[in-house]
């Protein structure tokens, strides 16, 4: 196994172009486990740790441009304001040691349906900045996941950053595991209210071959909120509406039975999480509206 250590982004792209089978490694929280378990033996490892740019984030119009290797710990500490859903999801990632090393770029590169960042990215709205010696393209995150542990990257491409819409409303993230901390998702749900566009976005993890949005649920809820004038009135979401939102979210799942949980349980849990996160997010929205009106 050759260990490639580019000193700059250009060198990294050149190395990836020269060795398309090279596996990029930053925190190593996923790649090293795979290697240690002998699940893969890449011919080349492409070490991105010397490329400081990947560890930076910045404002980019209405987006946060999050470097691919910014660890979860910093997302929690620095980005809870503009990216509340992703910060919530980051809190549920592994242990403190894993959160100090693991990054959203790694979650995207691995494209495991159980990656904790995915539902939050789907709900917030994001584009993956994929780069190669040929140039840079933006891939909408919902088009990025192409199969179980497969993504839309070309063999010569690397993830440089993720451009994530800044929150314009409350966001929530909830994940079921059979332990109260440091647990891999049985299934997960992300929700973002977008009051500016009067839309709702969602993300579901570990309940289909890829992370998915529950589009029927989103459309139903957006329409219902508009029809009832709830965005304006700030009135509570009727329980029946929340229940139906949950059921539609469950309908977006295509889960399997595995050692972590049954398909039936996953559908059921997604419905419950969708309903609850809607309640929490809507309460927060109503609170903000009230505060705004009083002020």
């Amino acid at each position: 196994m050759d260990f490639l250590r580019p000193g700059s982004w250009e060198e990294a792209l050149a190395a990836k172009a020269e060795h398309p089978t090279a596996v990029p490694i930053a925190g190593g929280t996923d790649v090293m486990v795979e290697i240690n378990f002998d699940h893969r033996r890449p011919e080349y490892l492409l070490d991105l740790n010397r490329i400081g740019d990947l560890y930076e984030w910045g404002d980019d119009a209405g987006d946060v441009r999050l470097g691919a290797a910014v660890p979860y710990t910093r997302i929690i500490e620095e980005l809870g304001g503009p990216l509340p859903g992703l910060a919530l999801a980051s809190r549920t990632v592994g242990s403190p040691q894993i959160r100090n090393r693991g990054s959203v770029g790694g979650n995207l590169g691995a494209a495991s349906p159980a990656g904790d960042a995915h539902p939050a990215l789907l709900a917030a709205g994001a584009d993956v900045e994929a780069a190669s010696v040929r140039g840079t393209r933006l891939i909408p995150v919902e088009e990025f996941y192409t199969g179980v542990k497969r993504n839309a990257l070309a063999p010569d491409e690397l993830i440089r950053a993720v451009r994530i819409r800044k929150a314009d409303g409350p966001q929530q993230f909830s994940k079921v595991g059979t332990r109260n901390a440091m647990v891999i998702a049985v299934c997960a749900f992300g929700l973002a209210l977008h009051p500016e566009t009067r839309t709702v976005r969602t993300g579901i993890g570990s309940a289909a071959p890829t992370p998915v949005r529950a589009r029927a649920a989103e459309d139903f809820l957006a329409a219902a909120l508009a029809d009832e004038g709830l965005w304006e009135s700030g009135a509570p979401v009727p329980p029946a509406l929340a229940r139906q939102f949950g059921e539609l979210a469950a309908g977006a799942c295509n889960p399997i039975d595995d050692v972590r949980g049954s398909a039936r349980y996953r559908r059921h849990a997604v419905a419950v999480m969708a309903r609850r996160t809607l309640g929490w997010a809507w309460d927060a929205y109503r609170g903000r509206e009230r505060t705004a009106r009083c002020a």
Partner: protein, 792 residues
């Protein structure tokens, strides 16, 4: 009763600091916390090779051919071994020698060792092992009682000659033990209420954090030195030496740093393998399992299916218990026979029941081998009989604690085996104490105006509820565990104690072969020596086979048995010191001849405290060195048909009250508090005692709500990793208030009672009882999964 302590009379040593009853600190505590402790996986030797194991991907298959050429052709490989290369005995076992050192023609479980490779780098060894081509012909598998005992079932061990073979109803049953007492048929006819239940316990793993590891160094005399993490050096030795074809004195074993055991290191793992590779290559060989291999490299807790029937009078007096406990022993016997004996003899729990018809048996199947784990057969039974007690209480409309107390055994009670419980058995009192504790406040996650504290809620950091769907439940359980090895086993220990003067100060050295696996023997042995010899400086010699056997660090026995041996050796040293003192100074003071003499604070004193001489002056340049064996009172075998017999040394008891919050919609559980009361006879080190109780309680919680090795229908392990075999984190571990009783057992050293296992028993059923109360669900299986709580 409100007595929490009966005095243990102690004159000798009571004025010497650091003796028994003090919470002295572990010598290895700081090292372990800071990461500086050397575990067996840290062993290193110049020029050492690395060993690796090729394991079977099949659960039951015939080996048609093995092609080693690819492995031999790998540069850096020094040896490749299969069963054809074994120099002497080809099988070993703790109780029955049925386990192949390397598979001989047939593999019987997923992960069975087939071949060994030694190479100059662990990665080279792994790659070479992967190049070994083994041609398998899959065979039909047996995975449960039905498939193991139906007509035509393949026999896992067709030509059995072990002691249990003549008594078992089927050759795929390792051992069966009935226990019969009284007249169950008549009692059933007389019962006002009868409740029945079927229960199931999943396969728990010891999940010790330090994987199997050791270093074998070939010696010039043709022997081998083995540095190893194990639970019982001499039992390993007894099994390894015949495999190597060496006399036992050519196999010298030294305990290395052990990262937990819980029963999982009682059987051999890589011990013989590393020695074989070292002797073959003439080079030191290190073997370390990774976490994945560790799940295949040691036995697990027997999964069990249990059928119970309890009958009682209207006022809640137990009339009879009938039960059948089927334990899955997997492919090889390990300690299944002894686990069966425990399950059968402790099957009704700590209750007085005059009419009992019970049996326990262990199967041979193609599932992973199962053997010793903390609680050892008593855990499975306790989950079922305590569920039954709750069911009976519900049928009678009675408070579950009151029903238990009404039937609780006390000193003088007769076990279903006919054995009289001849030391304190404060079962009702333990229950009273946990029940009397104030309950933790409700809805602790709510804070004034702020967001909920999700750490206090089911789902914890995963943010699954802010209080929605959460229901509290409270449950109780109590259990009974035997202490020490039972059924007539010669359960002795050996201690060597040396007293000498070093730099003008008396210094004692205690040398035993007791494996320190985290239980605290290194602390307790030093405390005993301080108390018995009145010296403050005590050195713990490394545990090795240069001293006689200490027996196993299991069955809650080491403080009792090796502690007893250390005390016994100290008493002999003390006599020699006093004899020496009388010879040297007897004429100087009349007390030497007439008074009760003690050793205190490095001096010989009268029992009134008058100093007669410094130990340094008594000993001068002489070293007193004594090695002695010590035995507790003997036990008897159980009758093979009736189960009658004084089979156990001592019983220990613990009770728990569990308080849980259950998210009834998502099926997630937060255990809020697990209060425990336990009688320990005498707490030699109170801090260690509380640590054992909290650890055992937490391991029981793990079995209740998360810990299970999931075995597929074909016998393959589905979750051999800490990603999917979950053990409690600190956030899953509740507050554990501990109430320690010290009611002396007059038969035991210092009145002590073994501590380590009893809290593992009642923890599990208490948690499940609390979840039942919260949900109203029957929950007949552990671990309880979200699917069970949500009907999905």
């Amino acid at each position: 009763m409100d007595v929490s302590r009966t005095p243990t009379p102690l004159s000798q040593g009571s004025r010497t600091p650091g003796g028994i009853g003090e919470s002295t600190q572990r010598p290895d505590g700081t090292l372990k916390v800071t990461g500086d402790f050397a575990y067996a996986s840290d062993l290193w030797h110049e020029d050492m090779l690395w060993g690796t194991t090729l394991r079977s991907p099949h659960t039951h298959a015939r080996i048609l051919s093995v092609d080693l050429s690819g492995a031999f052709a790998t540069p850096g490989v020094y040896a490749v071994l299969t069963c054809a290369d074994l120099p002497a005995a080809t099988r070993y076992g703790l109780e029955i020698k049925d386990t192949p050192v390397l598979a001989d023609g047939v593999v019987r479980y997923h992960g069975e060792p087939v071949a060994l490779v030694a190479a100059d780098h662990p990665e080279t060894a792994r790659r070479a092992a992967a190049k070994i081509k083994v041609e398998y012909e899959p065979l039909p598998v047996v995975t449960d009682e039905e498939s193991a005992t139906r007509p035509g079932a393949p026999l896992l061990h067709p030509d059995r000659t072990d002691a249990h073979a003549p008594h078992v109803p089927h050759p795929n049953i390792v051992h069966r033990q009935p226990v019969r007492r009284g007249d169950v048929a008549a009692a059933r006819a007389a019962a006002d209420v009868v409740v029945t239940g079927d229960y199931e316990v999943g396969m728990q793993d010891q999940a010790f954090l330090g994987p199997e590891s050791g270093l074998a160094v070939p010696a010039e005399d043709g022997g081998v030195d083995l540095y190893i993490a194990t639970q019982w050096l001499h039992a390993d030795l007894r099994q390894i030496a015949p495999v190597l074809g060496l006399p036992e004195d050519k196999v010298r074993m030294t305990l290395s740093g052990v990262g937990g055991a819980f029963g999982g290191r009682e059987d051999l793992s890589m011990q013989a393998h590393a020695c074989l590779l070292a002797l073959r290559t003439g080079r030191p060989v290190k073997m370390v399992y990774n976490r994945y291999e560790s799940f295949f490299g040691h036995v697990h807790r027997h999964p069990a299916k249990l059928h119970y029937e309890h009958g009682a009078t209207r006022d809640g007096r137990l009339l009879f218990v009938s039960c059948r406990i089927v334990l899955d022993g997997g492919a090889y016997a390990s300690s299944s026979p002894a686990v069966v004996g425990n399950a059968a003899s402790l099957a009704v729990g700590p209750y007085v029941v005059e009419n009992v018809d019970s049996e326990a048996l262990a199967l041979y199947t193609n599932n992973p081998p199962c053997g010793a784990m903390r609680g050892f057969g008593a855990v499975q039974a306790c989950f079922a009989y305590e569920a039954q007690m709750d069911r009976l209480a519900a049928a009678l409309g009675m408070d579950p604690v009151e029903l238990r107390q009404r039937n609780a055994m006390s000193q003088g009670a007769v076990m279903p085996t006919g054995q009289v419980v001849d030391s304190p058995a404060p079962v009702a009192e333990l229950l009273r104490r946990v029940k009397a504790l104030p309950l933790p406040p409700e809805r602790e996650w709510e804070s004034a105006g702020g967001p909920p504290d999700i750490r206090a809620l089911p789902g914890g950091l995963s943010n699954t509820t802010h209080g929605e769907g959460v229901v509290r439940g409270v449950g109780y359980a109590v259990g009974i565990k035997n202490v020490g090895f039972s059924e007539g086993f010669d359960d002795y220990s050996t201690a060597r104690v040396r007293l000498e003067v070093v730099a003008g100060q008396p210094v004692a050295t205690v040398h035993t072969a007791a494996a320190e696996v985290g239980q605290g023997g290194v602390t307790v042995h030093a405390q005993i020596v301080r108390t018995e010899l009145g010296v403050t400086q005590v050195t713990i010699h490394p545990a090795d086979t240069r001293v006689g056997s200490a027996g196993s660090t299991s069955a809650s026995r080491q403080t009792y048995v090796t502690g007893g041996a250390v005390r016994h050796a100290c008493e002999a040293v003390r006599e020699r010191v006093l004899a020496l003192g009388r010879a040297r100074f007897g004429a100087a003071h009349p007390a030497w001849q007439h008074a009760e003499l003690l050793l205190e604070g490095g001096k010989v004193t009268t029992d009134g405290g008058e100093a007669l001489a410094d130990l340094a002056d008594v000993l001068e340049s002489e070293a007193i060195d004594v090695e002695l064996e010590w035995r507790h009172r003997p036990t008897e075998a159980f009758d093979p048909r009736s189960g009658q017999g004084n089979g156990h040394v001592q019983y220990s008891f613990a009770a728990h009250r569990a308080v849980v919050e259950v998210d009834t919609e998502l099926g997630l559980v937060k255990v809020v508090e697990l209060a425990c009361a336990q009688d320990v006879g005498k707490a030699l080190n109170p801090l260690s005692v509380v640590g054992q109780i909290q650890g055992g309680t937490t391991q029981g919680l793990g079995l209740a709500v998360m810990e299970e090795i999931v075995v597929a229908e074909d016998g393959r392990v589905r979750n051999p990793s800490f990603t999917d075999y979950l053990i409690p984190t600190i956030l899953d571990t509740p507050a554990i208030p501990v109430d320690v009783l010290e009611l002396a057992d007059d038969h035991a050293p210092y009145g002590l009672r073994g501590v380590g296992e009893a809290p593992t028993l009642s923890s599990t059923p208490a948690v499940v009882a609390a979840i039942r109360q919260a949900t109203g669900l029957p929950l007949n299986r552990v671990p309880v999964r979200p699917e069970h709580l949500t009907g999905t």
